[in-house]
């Protein structure tokens, strides 16, 4: 039995977004590490309810989503946590109707894994990597140029090369391509932790 819980835990920890399992009263019973970090940063703890951390209409929104999950409905909502606003989905748990499954939005699109993949797959130069990083943070070419202290034309050339290499039809296409890459957790466990 504990072995199965371990696997669930391990798989959840491999996902690149926060996941939490809550009961009908909103008490958090299990989280993956991303959700744990998020909830802790907002002053919440495992085993305790999310309600006290919510302010104003958010309490109602959260209660409504939990009730909807209890009825077998899935909803997406936005809550203001101490750490900042976040979007999450609350879904019913078919095997145990007293539980709801919460999934949080993704925080970052470009990390060591996704960049490593782009470099390997499309042979991006360091300058092109910086441009992709800027675009994936929502910056426009002008902002990227200013941030790096180079001419806008240089950035435009680097973007053009990146588009050609990644066979993208334009900047939006490139952003979509990168944003859609499967998410992977950055936390790695030492192997012997599992072998033990």
């Amino acid at each position: 039995m504990p072995a199965k819980v371990d696997l669930l835990d391990a798989v959840l920890n491999e996902l690149g977004f926060g996941v939490a399992i809550v009961d009908a009263n909103g008490n958090v019973s299990q989280t993956n590490w991303i959700a744990e970090v998020m909830l802790r940063a907002s002053g919440m703890e495992l085993g305790k309810s999310i309600f006290p951390a919510l302010v104003g209409p958010d309490k109602e929104v959260w209660a409504y989503a939990l009730a909807a999950a209890g009825r077998g409905e899935r909803s997406m909502l936005r809550l203001k946590l101490a750490d900042g606003p976040t979007t999450l989905t609350v879904s019913p748990c078919r095997s145990d109707p007293s539980l709801a499954l919460v999934m949080f939005e993704r925080r970052a699109f470009i990390d060591a894994h996704s960049m490593g993949y782009l470099v390997r797959e499309y042979r991006l130069t360091p300058a092109e990597q910086r441009v992709v990083t800027g675009l994936m943070h929502g910056e426009v070419p002008k902002q990227i140029a200013q941030g790096q202290g180079v001419a806008l034309s240089t950035i435009r050339t680097q973007i053009k090369h990146t588009l050609t290499k990644t066979r993208s039809r334009g900047i939006y296409d490139l952003i979509l391509k990168v944003a859609r890459l499967p998410s992977i957790s950055l936390r790695r466990y030492p192997r012997d932790e599992w072998d033990a």
């Binding site: 199965k4 977004f17 909803s75 997406m76 949080f104 993704r106 675009l135 929502g138 939006y172 998410s183």
Partner: protein, 204 residues
Amino acid sequence: MLDGQAQQTSVANTADDQPIIPVDSNLFADLIGLVDFGIVVTAPEGNLTYLNPVAAQQLGVVAADVTGKMLSELGRNQAEESEWRRLLDGVARGGAGLFDLHLSDRWFAVAASTCANGTILIRFERPGELSAAARQFLSRQYRLTPAELIVVDGLLRGISPRGIAKEKGVAESTVRTQIKHALSKTRARGISELILKITRLPPG
């Protein structure tokens, strides 16, 4: 007494040696069944232990038919079989990260890594359209109209404003106005930011 001890030991050994089969865990299947991208779980040797519905659909297989088979048996020809084997080799070499998987008619970017007891977890690219939950959220939270949602969905599928106009049979200027409204409602500074905001939404 002695027999009982021996039995206990052998049970303990089995638990250590055997990869855990996650389908036994309902909570696990529930959770993995909810995400909007494909997930495949295999034992350390590459036997499929679990596919979520999205993965089954993307690979064109029925989960019950392939469970227990080797990952490479998903290949419909030799080239595909060797692609799956290449993926497993990459993971076995200690690789955790993104790989490209070329099948005969399309290719996927997949993330693969090992977790508990050498279990291998493979994740596929996320889908490119608005989910039902995201649609509902955008109309409730940002008051996007149905026409604006259609335009946003087009942008998320990588279609240009002109392409969206053609698809809808309206003037490009109409689509541009709808994009402008969607941007101001979602407080996005441009299409890039809008795309990033929406693809960041949790699986729904």
